[in-house]
C-alpha cells in the first residue's frame, strides 16, 4: 500500500529464532527437570515471545500504523485477563 512503507525485516532470521525457541520449549518440557511451579511461567513466557515475534514481524505490527497494534493488543489483554480470572 502506498500509505504505509513496509520495511522488510529478515524473515528467515525470525523463522530461525522461532524454530530455536520451539526446540527450547520442547527441551524444557520433556527433558529438563524444572521444578513444577516454574514450568508454567517459563513455558508461557517462551510462547508469548514467539507469538510476539510473529505479530511484530510477520504481521508487521512493529512497522505498521499503531492503530492496528491497538486493535490486536487490547482484545489479547482482555482475553488473557478473562482466562486468568476464570481459571485461577
Amino acid at each position: 500500500m502506498a500509505e504505509t512503507h513496509v520495511k522488510q525485516p529478515n524473515y528467515v532470521g525470525v523463522f530461525i529464532i522461532l524454530a530455536v525457541l520451539t526446540l527450547i520449549e520442547i527441551g524444557v518440557s520433556v527433558y529438563v527437570n524444572l521444578p513444577l511451579a516454574l514450568r508454567p511461567p517459563v513455558l508461557l513466557a517462551l510462547a508469548v515471545v514467539k507469538a510476539s515475534l510473529v505479530a511484530l514481524y510477520y504481521m508487521h505490527l512493529r512497522f505498521d500504523r499503531r492503530i492496528f497494534a491497538a486493535l490486536f493488543v487490547v482484545p489479547v489483554l482482555a482475553a488473557a485477563a478473562f482466562i486468568f480470572a476464570i481459571t485461577r
Binding site: 513455558l43 510473529v54 514481524y57 504481521m59 500504523r65
Partner: protein, 186 residues
C-alpha cells in the same frame, strides 16, 4: 488539525484486524474452558504425541514464513514468487492438517474421543476449531492463488494478499499458544 487514528487507512485492512480481534475473544472462551476442565480430570499424558505435534508446530511456523515471503514478493512485483510462496503456504497448511488428522485417529484408537471424557470434549473442541481455521485459511489462500494466477495483484494492489496473510499468521499465533497450553504445560 490532528489526524484521526484511522484516517487514510485502508478500510479493508481495518476490517481484517477487527475480525482478528473477534477471533481472539472466540478462542479465549475455548482456551478458558479447556484449562478449567483440565484441572478437573487428568490429562491422558501417555496418549499425547509431543514429537508429532512438535513437528507439526514447525510445519505451521514454516508456512507462516512462506506466507510472508509471498507478500514480500508481490510488493516488489514478483508474480512468480507470489504464486510459488502461496502454493507452498497452502501445501504446508495441508501437511499440518494431515498431521492433526493422524493425531486425532491415534487418539480415537486409544479410546479418547470428544464424548468419552470432559478432557476429550474440551481438547477436540479447541484443537478442532483451530484445525477448521487452518482449513478455511487454505481455501482462502487457494482463492487468492487463483486470482494471482490471473495476474490480479501488483506492487501497488496487494491488500488481498496482505489480508489472507494476517489471518494465516493469526492462526499460527493461536497454535503457538495451544501447543504450550495443551501439550507442554504439566
Amino acid at each position: 488539525m490532528t489526524m484521526a487514528p484511522m484516517e487514510g487507512t485502508d478500510t479493508r485492512k481495518i476490517a481484517v484486524w477487527l475480525f482478528i480481534a473477534s477471533e481472539v475473544i472466540f478462542f479465549s472462551g475455548l482456551i478458558a474452558s479447556y484449562v478449567l476442565y483440565r484441572g478437573r480430570v487428568p490429562k491422558p499424558e501417555h496418549a499425547l504425541n509431543v514429537t508429532l505435534v512438535g513437528v507439526n508446530t514447525f510445519v505451521l511456523i514454516f508456512s507462516s514464513l512462506m506466507m510472508v515471503r509471498a507478500l514480500a514478493a508481490i510488493q516488489r512485483d514478483d508474480q512468480r514468487g507470489l504464486r510459488l510462496n502461496l502454493l507452498l503456504t497452502a501445501l504446508f497448511g495441508l501437511l499440518f492438517l494431515s498431521g492433526q488428522a493422524y493425531e486425532f485417529s491415534s487418539l480415537f484408537r486409544e479410546g479418547i474421543t470428544p464424548s468419552a471424557s470432559l478432557w476429550g470434549s474440551a481438547f477436540f473442541t479447541l484443537t478442532g476449531f483451530h484445525g477448521a481455521h487452518v482449513f478455511v485459511g487454505i481455501l482462502w489462500i487457494l482463492t487468492v492463488l487463483a486470482k494471482a494466477a490471473l495476474g490480479h495483484y501488483s506492487a501497488t494492489n496487494n491488500i488481498a494478499v496482505e489480508s489472507v496473510g494476517l489471518y494465516w499468521h493469526f492462526v499460527d499465533i493461536v497454535w503457538i499458544m495451544l501447543f504450550t497450553i495443551i501439550y507442554l504445560l504439566p
